[in-house]
Symmetry: C2
Subunit: 403 residues, 2 copies
């Protein structure tokens, strides 16, 4: 008898037929004597539909009430799934955020789960019932409904797996698992059987939208084995666990890309100590996340050009802050939103010499200009012109033997 958390995303519960299919998956687990806690998202499209209603009233809709509004989506799925299980003669019950309760702290729409009471659900599991829990939500200390950000159902599932000491946490979704790159764009992409938390983290934060990063982080912190698998096929998914349990035969595990970065160049900044600090301090205070930074000495040797990347959403805020800053002098600010970040990720990179060279050579062979570079132990990212994205991803996928 194994305690399992099964999480079903929006597309997995997007229609009544799919909810009935999910009920059958749970029935199978239940018939194998597993104790099942199912965490569910809102039916696909539902959260956007509710958001649209709130936007028709106000773009800056009351934050507390937005959480009341959005949390109703998962409530609907919970009830329907529990009803579908009843129909299959499986004992089951929905547990709302306040019934459990799932305690959170932090701002509305961006809260964090800090505790989940286990008594009621454990009693129910011990009495052979299946517990259905809404993802993405909780309550605050004051008893207000909170939500934990888009994709937050993954975080709920991992938090529940941790607090209930579940043996594993299975993330059911609409793809077969984690791929070596985006299978929709690059047909030779391959499903990865095993991947480490670190690699998964780099991939999920880099645009491979299979799992929410903070959920992977929590799983890593508490060493909770994850499996990402398809709701719609019987195929094996991708297992995610600690690096030490994986034998690396390849230096690179996957190639990710994202198109939500923008590049900003501040031209002819006075070249003296502290100038970068002066430039980035107000950005940091304004919660603008600066990713890569490059500093060039300009021709006159008295000034320098500083280039950096930020999220596209932050670009006008960034420019505004730089313009208002009195502590730096510069000639002009140039921005480019037509850039993409392409990254190779692999825990095997650190032990394989020449990966960096091989990447740069490969891009150069395709006449792709590198605009910025950043590295970590298991990742190497470059900024390139957006139009070259797929060409770059394909090339890297091939030269690192992932096809």
């Amino acid at each position: 008898m194994v305690k399992k958390v099964l999480k079903f995303g929006g597309t997995s519960v997007g229609t009544i037929e799919r909810i009935q299919h999910v009920a059958n998956i749970i029935k199978k687990e239940h018939s194998e004597k597993n104790k099942v806690i199912a965490v569910v998202s809102a039916m696909s499209g539902k959260t956007n539909e509710l958001l649209k209603l709130s936007n028709e009233i106000a773009e800056d809709f009351n934050k507390r009430e937005l959480d009341v509004l959005l949390s109703s989506g998962e409530q609907v799925t919970c009830a329907l799934l529990s009803g579908a299980l009843t129909r299959l003669n499986i004992k089951s019950k929905s547990f709302m955020n306040w019934q459990i309760p799932i305690l959170t702290e932090g701002d509305h729409s961006n809260a964090r789960i800090i505790n989940i009471h286990v008594e009621k659900i454990n009693d129910y599991l011990n009495n052979n019932g299946v517990a259905i829990v809404p993802g993405f939500q909780g309550i605050s200390k004051n008893g207000d409904i909170t939500t934990i950000g888009r994709g937050g159902s993954d975080a709920t599932a991992v938090a529940i797996a941790k607090i209930f000491n579940a043996e594993c946490c299975e993330i059911y979704t609409d793809v077969d698992g984690v791929f070596s790159t985006d299978p929709n764009k690059i047909p030779v992409a391959k499903k990865i059987d095993k991947i480490s938390y670190d690699e998964m983290l780099e991939l999920s934060s880099l645009g491979a939208k299979v799992m929410q990063s903070s959920a992977v982080q929590t799983a890593m912190m508490y060493d909770i084995p994850l499996e990402v698998k398809s709701t719609f096929t019987e195929r094996k998914g991708t297992k995610i666990f600690s690096q030490e349990n994986i034998d690396y035969t390849k230096s690179v595990t996957g190639v990710a890309y994202s198109k939500d970065d923008a590049k900003i160049t501040v031209k002819e900044v006075e070249d003296k100590p502290g100038v970068a600090a002066n430039m980035f301090e107000p950005l940091s205070k304004a919660q603008v996340n600066v990713d890569m930074v490059i500093q060039n000495i300009s021709s006159d040797q008295k000034t320098t050009d500083i280039t950096f990347t930020v999220k596209r959403d932050d670009i006008s805020k960034t420019k505004q802050i730089l313009k208002e800053s009195t502590s730096i002098n510069y000639k002009e600010i140039i921005s480019n939103e037509k850039v993409a970040k392409v990254s190779i990720v692999g825990a095997g990179m650190v032990s394989t010499p020449g990966v960096t060279y091989k990447m740069f050579r490969g891009l150069s062979d395709e006449n792709i200009n590198i605009l910025a570079i950043s590295t970590s132990e298991i990742k190497l990212s470059v900024i390139i012109d957006e139009e070259n994205t797929l060409k770059a991803v394909k090339k890297l996928h091939t030269i690192f033997d992932l096809d």
Copy 2:
């Protein structure tokens, strides 16, 4: 400063524009320094949409989960209305069934409100906030979500008015008030300015679907003044209060009709004492509500025909029970679903002689045959062929000076 409960039905909050309009009505009350508790229904169509989803899974959908499912509808309206008030700079907050809490007892989908905690909402009202409360729902002693039956938002509003000692309870709806008969079918129908609880009760239980009967009953029991009025016009509505506060100038206040009755005749029942008791006892046990009863002596004088009316929904159940009953002998059972109940209602009837004669004469003048009759102090109902319904209603409306 007056404490008011304002209840907004499904059509009143059926679109974002209408929710914004409702927010303006509340803003006006708030600006007049009234303390406002708004009770809201689900957006029109929403409850049926959710019911349809549950029906696709199972017609006998898990009762506990059905309440979880349906209660989400009012949650959505609460959040949207509170957000709309924020947009108008009115301080407001939604209070969910479990946050207040609204305590209920009884079966799922048919619970009764037994208590509502007042502290949180009173504090909020005293701090100049508008409290938004979901109608139709509560929680059980065990902390499960319950609902209190279709139309239950009226009951919530009246219960809140009672427990919070509100000065009045205004029921906002999509009609101008209570009419002397159905204004959609009988254009000469007139809005009634004042009506007693008793009359309203007879009208609402007889098919004038303006307010839920049990809510009117509660208001009568605790003498809570009600006003039914339109969300969409500025016209005065219908005030509902105790009979002693009304001067009756007319014997009849309104003419109601309904088409959900059916007539059953049991032919040639052995005519001996106790036969009616034997016939109706098993029906009563099976919760079949028998309305009017007529007993005729048949030609042979040893047997009798018993005719009675039940709700159409109960007709097959009723026949089944009679067939299975071993304590009565009869020749055959004839049923007729093509009947209608037409009623005149008026607290002034009791003091006006000849009302009964006038009604029968009027129907006879139109060649309408009376199939059954029942009376109370303030009501006189007849069963007639369904096809004559409107003709009868029009005639009665005219002869009792209501046009």
